[in-house]
């Protein structure tokens, strides 16, 4: 490995951990990010000449801490107003300590006092360690927009006093729930984008899965994390078969040789290791496992969705349940289920899409055609629009 590769490797392996460690000590995101940036620049300059240090992380930590402290001191002299916020000396590179710091940072990024947009951006920046430009690309917004969103969020953490600490045992279930929701929203935006030229953004979905692995390492024995990870892995494994030449391919028509069977096996083994009672992600993971089984057991899927709907009351779950009920052989019952969903989800194109397919199956062609028109008026990704246009033309 060349020195330059070593710097890149160190960035991937250690950036987020070092940031977490320094931010919990210095409490200043901007200063720590700049200090770390300086440290990596210094590494890129000196490692090729002096050789890669034995412990690159410790080298980077020392360099970043020194530079961050320099910046804080300079600020203090310049403005004579900021107390030096250093709470204690940085501990040596102990794995246990670092684990704790990262967890604190992740929980701060998913704090309920931050907006959902801010949580998602912070999670990618400080949880996954992505650069601002990459996050902007993944969310399809201009880089200055994303930079401003991150700056606002970091300012809120500092000014509002959002603590960098892991939740207490009492708080953990609720706070972990929010954290997992942030990760799952990142994943779903990657799995089924809400707008744009592409149906999916596999890189975003992959980052969400990586965050799931990180969480699983930091908080072992939490079944909901394992369940979410399994769910994401199972859905992501079908990515290459879901789109063909820019066109949406429905589950029944997918080329199964393009599924990632190693990933499916991994997802299934995670699900099978989970104990009852089923949590929400567990139920969804069981459904995803059925979907990718080759011969889905639709009555079982419908039953799992019914249980999920009972727990969440979510209209999106009801929509999915209706699809399963139709596949299980009762399109009339399915149609009755989606009857009032257009009122609760007025801007979701999937409601008229499902209605159209159900009407088509019942041979109510004129009504199907008008439902396809309603779906086309709402759809926001190009592959789905192409699919709907093609289906509409058949009626």
């Amino acid at each position: 490995m060349t020195a330059q590769e070593a710097v890149e490797q160190a960035y991937r392996d250690h950036w987020a951990r070092l940031l977490a460690l320094l931010v919990t000590r210095l409490r200043r995101f901007d200063v720590v990010e700049d200090g770390l940036q300086d440290a990596f620049v210094a590494a890129a300059r000196t490692w090729p000449e002096q050789g890669v240090p034995d412990r690159p992380a410790a080298w980077l930590l020392t360099a970043a801490r020194r530079r961050a402290l320099d910046r804080l001191r300079r600020e203090e002299t310049d403005q004579r107003r900021l107390p030096l916020l250093v709470t204690d000396e940085v501990a040596e590179d102990e794995p246990g300590v670092l684990t704790d710091e990262r967890l604190r940072l992740l929980f701060a990024c998913a704090h309920p006092a931050l907006s959902p947009d801010a949580r998602a951006a912070l999670m990618l920046r400080f949880g996954a360690g992505l650069r601002t430009a990459e996050i902007a690309r993944l969310f399809l917004v201009p880089e200055p927009t994303m930079a401003a969103r991150l700056t606002r969020a970091k300012a809120k953490i500092a000014v509002a006093g959002i603590p960098l600490r892991a939740p207490t045992a009492d708080e953990l279930p609720a706070r972990l729930g929010i954290l997992l929701k942030v990760v799952y929203l990142l994943f779903t935006e990657g799995y089924r984008a809400t707008d744009g030229a592409e149906l999916q953004r596999p890189r975003l979905a992959a980052e969400a899965i990586r965050l799931g692995y990180v969480l699983g390492e930091l908080l072992p024995d939490q079944d909901e994390i394992v369940a979410l990870l399994a769910l994401m892995i199972l859905q992501h494994a079908r990515r290459d078969a879901r789109v063909d030449d820019g066109r949406l391919v429905l589950l029944a028509d997918q080329d199964r040789s393009r599924w990632h069977h190693d990933e499916l096996a991994r997802g299934r083994s995670l699900v099978n290791g989970l104990a009852e009672p089923y949590g929400q992600y567990h139920l969804q993971a069981l459904i995803a496992a059925e979907h990718s089984s080759g011969a889905p057991d639709w009555p079982r899927i419908a039953g799992l969705y019914a249980e999920l709907e009972r727990r969440t009351g979510s209209p999106v779950v009801r929509l999915n349940r209706a699809v399963a009920v139709a596949e299980a052989g009762s399109p009339e019952a399915a149609l009755a289920m989606v009857e009032d969903l257009e009122k609760t989800l007025p801007r979701n194109h999937l409601v008229p899409t499902v209605r159209a397919e159900l009407l088509a199956r019942l041979d109510r062609r004129a009504e199907a055609a008008s439902a396809f028109d309603a779906a086309l008026a709402l759809v926001r990704t190009d592959p789905e629009r192409a699919h709907l246009t093609r289906r509409r033309a058949e009626f």
Partner: protein, 115 residues
């Protein structure tokens, strides 16, 4: 850190309270204030008179040279108005939220105070 807990609500509802309800609410606020005192978190607080009684001063610019206009009523004519506040001391936002949750009010905005 210091935080302001700003209590918002519908003045029509406040104005329509019976004496009995007012006494109960006052007692609940006294309990809240006592809890803050016991934790050493109390930095002050007041109930504001109804916004009908407010007077608003305006200038074009933030300058003492500018003429002041004086008008009757609150700054913003909204259904939900500021009705009172506490200033509390808390280690961080989480602690401030724990304390603010014990306020017997419908809407409480937590604002950090600039050090």
């Amino acid at each position: 850190m210091e935080y302001a807990l700003l209590i918002y609500g519908d003045e029509k509802v406040w104005a329509a309270r019976t004496d009995e309800e007012r006494r109960e609410l006052t007692a609940r606020h006294e309990t809240f204030a006592r809890m803050l005192e016991e934790r050493g978190a109390m930095r002050g607080g007041k109930e504001l008179a109804l916004a009908d009684n407010a007077t608003t001063l305006r200038r074009e610019r933030e300058s003492l040279d500018d003429a002041v206009s004086v008008t009757d009523g609150p700054f913003a004519e909204t259904a939900e108005v500021l009705g009172g506040y506490y200033v509390i001391e808390a280690a961080d936002l989480d602690e401030a939220i724990v304390l603010a949750k014990q306020l017997p009010e419908r809407v409480v905005e937590i604002r950090p105070i600039v050090p």
